[in-house]
Amino acid sequence: MTFTIQIENGTEVRNAEADSQRTLYPYVTGTSVVAIKYKDGVLMASDMGGSYGSTLRYKNIERMKAIGKHSLLGASGEISDFQEILRYLDELTLNDNMWDDGNSLGPKEVHNYLTRVMYNRRNKFNPLWNTLVLGGVKNGEKYLGMVSMIGVSFEDNHVATGFGNHLARPILRDEWREDLGFEEGVKLLEKCMRVLLYRDRSAINKLQIAKMTEEGVTVSEPYSLKTFWEFKAFTNPTVGAEGSW
């Protein structure tokens, strides 16, 4: 059923049926993704949760996927839009392979393609509700970039989406160095993910870490972080004031 709303000066405002054709708000969302460049390549971490509003609906969503041989895409935001983007990238890589000329898409090219897609969708008022993190290594060059749902795109040595902007970025700005080894890089990412686990309500304690180097792209098995809850003020908060809160 379609109907139009008339306002005083006689112009049509909006068609209700057309509204259902565009993304108005996200439904199933993933929380932050954190990524850093390190000595041999790029490391990315994200948890495996998919929240449906305030319910933790899905606990086994892989929010990081390999694209071609050289890049890895991590996404936060609407999961269905992430799956759509993976389909677009599948089509892109397939068409590229059909040329059969030995060339393969590197992270820079994929990042550029994603920026164009996100910006154009935003211009049509029908955004893909994601913040994407694209990392990879091709021909010895490390690359790490980010695209938001309104098409803001940039590259940096360390990026974070969502809550990670507020909680992980300060730590990374202080402690990131150009020559981090693999173990140090993983420890730094785990530090950020632990803070996010404590302070982001939609984070879960089941995360994956992905490694991108010249040899290729691997995503680790899911694992959990150790947390500490034994502070004296947590176990006995009303010492000196029985009955207070």
């Binding site: 507020h166 970025r169 300060p170 730590i171 404590y198 302070r199 003020a233 000196g240 004031a241």
Partner: protein, 273 residues
């Protein structure tokens, strides 16, 4: 209609009579003036011998920095200090008020103030104003029962914590605390961690900036380290000073008083002791 003979005394708390008028004005397009907010990073942590409080020193009025070096750590009692975030007037007034109440209470009971006393007085006041007094506080001190650290939210709820952050820079500071806090820190480790958390707020949050203030409270002793760190100095200061151009003449400065000073001699009896 005749007025009643006995006037009803005015009720306490806010009177919301003008809210309807304000709503009508905002509908007509009038923008209400914004409050001077502190847009802050304030932190506190409990270490081995007591409590350390920290704060930045920037006060904002919307996008403008109104005060580059304000004091956000307020005195409550010789052994209790309170950091304040939110509307600057609210934090000043509420901490002043409770500080006076605590002093009167000390005179009456002949005992040192306890942190939970300050907590309950603040909590009662903020709750009765239902969140309209926009003061978010980090209250810390050492009393006879030991060191205590509490956070108080504008609506009147409180938390007791080993480490706490409030204000717009609270997430940046909390990420430092969550990553690095341990129990049983020494004084120097604690001060360094607090300074690191405030710096994290200063550099990663736009509402916080300028310098770091620190207050260390231990049993029987307190140290207020105003401007403990100044990580944002003016980088370019001309070494020549201000040099006048050749055409300008510097005139002599001469002060001529306008009136003769009149001396008043005391007449009459001195006041009774």
């Amino acid at each position: 209609m005749s007025q009643s003979a006995v006037d009803v005394p005015p009720k306490g708390g806010f009177s919301f009579d003008l809210c309807k008028r304000n709503d009508m004005l905002t509908q007509k397009g009038l923008k209400a003036p914004s409050f001077l907010k502190t847009g802050t990073t304030i932190v506190g942590l409990i270490f081995k011998d007591g409590v350390i409080l920290g704060a930045d020193t920037r006060a904002t009025e919307g996008p403008i920095v109104a005060d580059k070096n304000c004091e956000k750590i307020h005195y409550m009692a010789p052994n209790i200090y309170c950091c304040g975030a939110g509307t600057a007037a609210d934090t000043e007034a509420v901490t002043d008020m409770v500080s006076s109440q605590l002093r009167l209470h000390r005179y009456q009971t002949s005992r040192d103030s306890r942190v939970i006393t300050a907590l309950t007085l603040l909590k009662k006041h903020l709750f009765s104003y239902q969140g309209h007094v926009s003061a978010a506080l980090v209250l810390g001190g050492v009393d006879i029962t030991g060191p205590h650290l509490h956070t108080i939210y504008p609506h009147g709820s409180t938390d007791t914590l080993p480490f706490a952050t409030m204000g717009s820079g609270s997430l940046a500071a909390m990420s430092v605390f969550e990553a690095k806090y341990k129990e049983g820190l020494t004084r120097d480790e604690g001060i360094q961690l607090v300074a690191e958390a405030i710096c994290s707020g200063i550099f990663n949050d736009l509402g916080s900036g300028s310098n770091v203030d620190i207050c260390v409270i231990t049993k029987g002793n307190k140290e207020y380290l105003r401007n403990y760190m100044e990580p944002n100095p003016r980088t370019y200061v001309s070494s020549k000073g201000y040099s006048f151009t050749k055409k300008t003449e510097v005139l002599l400065t001469k002060i001529t008083p306008l009136l003769e000073r009149v001396e008043i001699t005391e007449v009459g009896e001195a006041m009774e002791e």
